[in-house]
């Protein structure tokens, strides 16, 4: 970008070592992970985990350098208005791709609950193949249990995460988590409002508060998972209820982790380096859009996995 010349109104990018090393890091990460999983499933020792960690470190280091460079270029004033708009488009479409990723899992939940599971529990499929298996949701008795009884490999949970009745909502962890996450969407918005007025003190406070709420949400989620595994027999292996419950909430949890981390980085930038002003805050804005997105996904989860679960 230093090579920008007077007669050019657009910027001409200089060469960059970042992409090739990012590709290398990504490759090592997935190649190591693949080996690690195969070794785990075959119960063998191997180097998978080492390669995975090495790749992850390379990828993380490259991405750190990459984002630092992008921030640096912005501070030096190298970014044109047009490039800034491209970043906005990029983030917007990235979030759309995430929406579609979750759509696949919500769609799977809908199909399993409303089409395939009822089909398993009726007619000759149920009578001839699965020993009169009856479908209900949440699925407590799996077809495997109906057929094999005690010898079943896939056993359903003893209890579920379902709705305990409206009167008990105030002590129901998923409801509390909903309150926490929705509040955090409000506080991140307050941070934004404060920044628009260039009130950095309030901005730092509300942004830090949002990160804290995100962290609390994750802690509650971890507690709930532990409870599910140890007390309820609700695991990844507990048939489709456990499958959809953990995959939907798990991917959401990963995205909350990601979003909390992103907001935390923005908070660090603001507090330690004094970044962001009302007119220059894309890093923060992009992170906050992402945060609103994970919030909306949670509302979907709360309705379809918890209340109607």
């Amino acid at each position: 970008m230093e090579q920008k010349q007077e007669f050019e109104t657009y910027y001409v990018p200089e060469q960059s070592k970042l992409p090739i090393f990012a590709s290398l890091g990504l490759f090592l990460t997935v190649f190591g992970l693949g080996n690690w999983l195969n070794e785990m499933s075959a119960e063998k020792e191997g180097s998978g985990v080492t390669v995975f960690l090495l790749g992850f470190v390379v990828l993380a280091a490259v991405l750190f350098t990459w984002f630092s460079k992008a921030i640096d270029e912005n501070i030096k004033g190298l970014n044109s208005v047009q490039l800034k708009r491209s970043y906005v488009w990029g983030m917007g479409w990235f979030i759309f791709s995430e929406v579609m990723f979750f759509a696949a899992f919500f769609g799977a939940l809908w199909y399993l609950r409303n089409i395939s599971l009822p089909h398993l529990g009726e007619g000759p499929t149920s009578e001839l193949l699965w020993n009169d298996f009856k479908a209900d949701w949440p699925l407590m008795t799996t077809p495997d249990m109906a057929l094999n009884g005690e010898a079943a490999a896939i056993t359903g949970p003893e209890a579920t995460m379902g709705n305990p009745g409206f009167s008990k909502w105030l002590t129901w962890l998923p409801f509390i988590n909903t309150a926490i996450l929705i509040s955090s969407s409000v506080t991140v918005h307050w941070a934004h409002t404060a920044l628009k007025k260039d009130n950095k003190k309030a901005f730092n406070f509300w942004l830090g508060f949002t990160v804290l709420l995100g962290f609390i949400f994750l802690c509650v989620q971890v507690y709930e998972y532990k409870h599910a595994y140890t007390d309820l027999g609700l695991t990844l292996n507990a048939g489709v209820y456990g499958t959809t419950f953990f995959m939907l909430t798990g991917f959401h949890g990963l995205h909350v982790t990601m979003g909390t981390f992103m907001l935390f980085v923005q908070w660090l930038r603001s507090v330690t380096k004094g970044h962001f002003s009302h007119s220059d805050c894309f890093g923060f804005e992009a992170s906050s859009w992402y945060w609103h997105f994970v919030d909306v996904v949670w509302v979907g989860l709360f309705i379809f996995v918890y209340i109607l679960g």
Binding site: Y10, L26, W93, F101, G107, L139, A153, A238
Partner: protein, 516 residues
């Protein structure tokens, strides 16, 4: 002009230039085309006669799987991304892609992803052998261990596609020269805008379905396992929700290419430009609501069969609009038949044949007979080979003078066309007959009843393969030397890319051109 390319091989590793990256995409895709073609020839060699002669059935299955995966994800898709990289910025008067570093990342993921995918051939238990559609439980319960690497290869090539698509959308929406309104954009740009949207919408769904497989294989979930309350048919629904738009991802840019070439050699403007734009958008929309026509025989309720049958048939309308527009563009034009035009006309005719066999397959009751036979193989090869591959070939001949500054040898180009045209029809047309006679897909050995048609197909396949070696020779020879090309290259060419010299300078439009 500004500085030229950097010296040495690191130019290619570190580049952020859309032309460099476009060239790398195209060469990568060319390499994958030969790799996938090699797998195809192994298949055709085995099928030359009934009985098992050359390969084991399990290896045969690995070949059909790898042929499909390499051709779809390694040859066709990167070729169109390469064309987009080269041409979209030049066509809209932009200096480069919107996010140049991410652009290079999108590319460099691919060689790693395909190295990993190809390496499964040498792994214990062999490469994926469950078909390119990787239906569960073949791809979960009964899969070789290498399926894990297949899954991660799909994940990272999906990430590459999504980043590439985001870049293309940002470029088109944000980097157009002043005056280049949306409805003035060349149709290639329009089709890529819509394709990029499709990519962002469905690649995450593909990532989702392979993630479900990964969890079923390694973490004991029950997505596709009826014992736990899951359903293998769920796999097919999620896969084809990705898979059908994927088909259009491979053909919409081809429509754009042909819509650029035919007006040039008919020396008339494209007939019905705006209807082309709307037809493309309609096809993209319909692609989301037709996926289950791949699953008519899986046991869906009658209502489902009917909905997906009628929705599928609706696609014939916008596609018909396009075909009639191309024909009308040629009508009363002063046509000449240079190589790109020959490939484009063959595209219009043969793609239409593939479209018609698609209509036959769309008829649910008839599909019960055609399903999983060579008729289906004939159908999708007729839309992919003279569709996607011919349009890419046409694009290469059309724009190679702009890229390299040299004209290709017209006689050799025409020879390539006729060899490829004859080879492809000899290969794929008999498959309609063996398919209607009941020959199933993906079998290494077969009833002698189908022996004649298979022998003809195999001869055609080797002819087609040889024709592509000629293509490689022509491309290399043109890059090395040849008659110098003018800026316009073609007498009837229109558009911004023809206003810059040939070869196009390393940086074009560092100041935006005026578009009237």
């Amino acid at each position: 002009m500004a500085h030229g390319p950097a010296k040495g091989f690191t130019r290619w590793l570190y580049t952020t230039n859309h032309k460099d990256i476009g060239s790398m995409y195209l060469w990568f895709s060319f390499a994958m085309f030969f790799l996938g073609g090699f797998f195809a020839l192994v298949i055709r060699a085995e099928l030359f006669q009934p009985g098992l002669q050359i390969v084991e059935p399990n290896f045969f299955n690995q070949m059909t799987t790898m042929h499909g995966l390499v051709m779809v994800f390694g040859a066709v898709m990167p070729a169109f991304v390469g064309l987009a990289n080269w041409m979209v910025p030049m066509m809209i008067g932009a200096p480069d892609m919107a996010l140049p570093r991410m652009n290079n990342w999108s590319f460099w993921i691919l060689p790693f992803a395909f190295a990993m995918l190809a390496s499964t051939l040498f792994m214990e238990g062999g490469a994926p052998n469950f078909g390119w559609t990787f239906y569960a439980p073949l791809s979960t319960t009964y899969a070789p261990a290498s399926v894990t690497f297949f899954i991660f290869a799909v994940h990272i090539m999906g990430a590459s596609s999504i980043m590439g698509a985001i870049n293309i959308i940002a470029t088109i929406l944000n980097m157009r020269a002043p005056g280049m309104t949306l409805m003035k954009m060349p149709l290639f740009v329009w089709t890529w805008l819509i394709t990029a949207y499709l990519l962002i919408a469905v690649m995450p769904v593909l990532a989702g379905v392979v993630t479900m497989m990964l969890m079923d294989i390694h973490f004991g979930t029950s997505f596709f396992d009826a014992a736990g309350g899951g359903d293998p048919v769920l796999f097919q629904h999620v896969f084809w929700f990705f898979g059908h738009p994927e088909v259009y991802i491979m053909i919409l840019p081809a429509f754009g290419v042909v819509s650029a070439i035919i007006p040039t050699f008919a020396r008339k403007p494209l007939f019905g430009y705006s209807s082309m734009v709307y037809a493309t958008a309609s096809i993209a929309f319909l692609s989301f609501i037709v996926w289950a026509h791949h699953m008519f025989t899986v046991g869906m309720p009658l209502f489902g069969e009917l909905v997906f049958m009628y929705a599928t048939m609706l696609i014939a309308i916008p596609t018909g609009v396009k075909v009639f527009n191309w024909v009308t563009t040629m009508f009363k034009g002063s046509m000449t038949f240079e190589t790109p035009m020959l490939f484009s006309i063959a595209f219009v005719i043969l793609f239409t044949i593939g479209g018609f066999s698609g209509l036959m397959l769309a008829i649910a009751p008839a599909d019960f007979q055609y399903h999983d036979t060579y008729f289906v193989v004939a159908h999708f090869h007729y839309v992919l080979v003279p569709g996607a591959i011919f349009s890419i070939t046409a694009a290469v001949y059309y724009w190679l003078p702009k890229w390299s500054g040299n004209m290709y040898d017209e006689t050799m180009g025409k020879a390539h066309f006729w060899l490829a045209f004859i080879g492809l029809n000899v290969t794929f047309f008999p498959m309609h007959f063996s398919g209607l006679a009941g020959m199933p897909r993906r079998i290494p050995d077969y009833n002698p009843l189908w022996a004649d048609w298979n022998m003809i197909s195999s001869v055609g396949a080797f002819l087609f393969g040889a024709a592509q070696l000629l293509f490689l020779f022509i491309v290399i020879r043109t890059i090395i030397g040849g008659k110098k090309a003018t800026a316009e290259v073609w007498e009837g060419s229109h558009g911004l890319e023809w206003t810059v010299p040939s070869p196009a300078p390393y940086h074009t439009f560092s100041t935006p051109p005026e578009v009237k």
